[in-house]
């Protein structure tokens, strides 16, 4: 049992998302940086998709009423266990009564806390992640509040040997987002396409799980068009009428009607999830082969690292 003393800015229960419910308009959602959640879970012997906590900017203060094994991954938010600094990417044993808190850090956005056994919440539509827009899943469909109590599942027995530090391929979160052409790319002129790759964009501070809002050179369609709403996927680079792009995140609405000029590749979605307010980013065009190779490298690295255990 974990008691939430203070909730932090936006702390939610997340797994890797609930897939297969588009017929009722439900987006998969899940951890914005799924790679970091998987790293944290592997460190405590959980299945990679076990439910953990996604912690945003300012972390919570949690008290563990029972012994627990935890690990932190993703952004370094300055974790402290009973006041002593604890590192990311380590399996940590927590004694009953211990308090986990976060001092915050300048260059970080989303951290992930995995607890051996996973966070136990009622399953909704086959998943444990929090659908904030729909108000269901996770802990009552909302962010953690002071006074909440979280249950954990039964932990798998952990052997003595531990995973070493995650390889760099699992940790890099850069500021260049590799993209493929968007589904409406032909509606944008050459000028906009060139601007997309030639300029820097700045991350607005009102970016969130729904999308990263950017400021920079204005992009535009060759001719104004109202498009039908269609299903969208994370990474889509939408351009509303105002010309400032939005890169859709995991909590995108299930359908959208803004034209899409580009699409961030799957391997760079973790980087998207860690973009900080006011960070300057660029887009780089790649082809499908490069996108596939990048994802394959990540997955092979994760699989290989996760095997070096026990």
């Amino acid at each position: 049992m974990i008691e939430v003393l203070t909730p932090g800015l936006l702390t939610t229960v997340q797994d890797l998302g609930r897939f297969g419910f588009g017929d009722v308009g439900v987006s998969p959602g899940g951890a914005a940086d799924g790679l970091a959640l998987r790293v944290a879970n592997l460190l405590v012997g959980n299945p990679p998709g076990a439910a953990g906590l996604e912690i945003t900017l300012r972390g919570p203060r949690l008290r563990f009423d029972a012994p627990a094994v935890i690990a932190l991954a993703g952004a370094d938010l300055g974790a402290r266990l009973d006041g002593a600094a604890v590192p990311l990417h380590h399996r940590l044993r927590v004694a009953p009564g211990a308090e986990l808190s976060f001092t915050g850090a300048a260059a970080a956005v989303r951290g992930y806390l995995a607890i051996a056994g996973g966070v136990a919440v009622p399953t909704v539509l086959g998943g444990a992640s929090t659908d904030l827009r729909g108000g269901f899943g996770g802990l009552d469909g909302r962010a953690l509040r002071a006074g909440d109590r979280l249950e954990t599942g039964a932990a798998a027995p952990l052997a003595g040997a531990v995973l070493g530090a995650p390889p760099p391929a699992l940790l890099e979160r850069g500021s260049v987002l590799r993209v493929l052409p968007g589904v409406h790319v032909e509606l944008f002129g050459e000028a906009s396409r060139q601007l997309l790759f030639a300029s820097e964009f700045e991350v607005r501070s009102d970016s969130d799980r729904m999308g990263v809002r950017l400021v920079g050179r204005q992009l535009g369609l060759l001719a104004p068009r109202e498009l039908l709403s269609e299903g969208v996927a994370p990474g889509a680079v939408q351009v509303p009428a105002g010309g400032a792009p939005i890169v859709l995140g995991v909590d995108h609405p299930s359908t959208g009607g803004y034209p899409q000029i580009a699409h961030v590749i799957a391997a760079d979605l973790p980087a998207l999830a860690q973009l900080r307010p006011h960070q300057r980013i660029r887009f780089a065009p790649v082809d499908l082969a490069a996108a596939r190779a990048a994802l394959q490298t990540q997955e092979t690295t994760l699989h290989g690292w996760g095997q070096v255990l026990k």
Binding site: F19, G20, F21, G22, D23, V24, G25, V26, S27, P28, P122, V124, L125, D131, R133, G134, G135, F136, G137, D140, G141, L180, P181, G182, V183, E226, L228, S229, E230, G231, V232, A233, P234, G235, A236, P253, S254, T255, Q260, H263, V264, I265, A266, L288, A291, R292, L295, Q296, E299
Partner: protein
């Protein structure tokens, strides 16, 4: 006897999704094609496909790029499309009546819709509740049913900026579309009324009042009846 379905275009939406687009404008034929393909994916799943999202005239299919690729997936989808034409007709749609308290506190934009349409509020209520709608698809947020069938003369542009919170159950008009908000989300549509019934719930026993293909009719009720029947906490 179904007409020949429109042949779709296939567009990569990133490296994890394929957009199957039947048309650029909404039509009954395109919507039927979307649902035929969606049903085929449920009845006969394609290896590597993890999710699909219907809309007016397109189906987004998400896949695991380590298990399949866009080209293989397109081939499998074309097969499903060819088979789907011969499929059994879908179960007959139901007719669902939704009680709605129009105007006042439950429909704060009724007057502005009336003004835009050059009608009185009563005329808007009569036209809106007199129409027969069909549930086209669910999108935007869980349980948000896009309805087709809004009378053209009621089409009203969205609000200049969205409300941060739309009361759940609100009945909205957005451009030429109409829908019932299932939960308290931000929203830019014009709110003409509110239903006391919960259109969709996803905690506890997930359930939706209506399904794609159902016919929906709105029945005007007064505020007292709304209060008596309200399922909203």
């Amino acid at each position: 006897m179904s007409e020949a379905p429109p042949l779709p275009g296939f567009l990569a939406a990133g490296d994890q999704a394929l957009l199957v687009r039947f048309a650029d404008t909404a039509s009954d034929a395109a919507l039927a094609a979307v649902w035929r393909l969606a049903a085929a994916l449920v009845a006969q799943p394609i290896a590597g496909v993890v999710h699909h999202q219907p809309s007016y005239a397109a189906l987004l299919v998400r896949f695991d790029p380590l298990r399949t690729d866009a080209r293989r997936l397109e081939g499998a989808l074309r097969e499903r499309l060819a088979q789907a034409v011969e499929a059994e007709p879908a179960a007959p749609a139901r007719e669902i009546e939704i009680p709605v308290a129009y105007g006042g506190e439950h429909g704060p934009d009724l007057e502005s819709v009336a003004a835009h349409c050059g009608m009185t509020a009563s005329q808007v209520v009569a036209a809106h509740s007199g129409a027969r709608y069909r549930v086209a698809f669910f999108g935007f947020v869980a349980g948000f049913a896009y309805l087709s069938g809004l009378p053209e003369r009621l089409a009203t542009p969205r609000l200049p900026s969205p409300r941060p919170r739309v009361p759940p159950g609100s009945v909205g008009i957005g451009g030429a579309q109409s829908a019932v908000y299932p939960s308290a989300t931000p929203g830019g549509w014009r709110l003409v009324g509110r239903t006391p019934l919960v259109p969709a719930r996803f905690s506890n026993q997930p359930a939706t009042l209506f399904a794609p293909g159902d016919a929906v009719r709105f029945v005007p009720i007064g505020p007292a009846e709304f209060a008596r029947r309200s399922q909203w906490r």
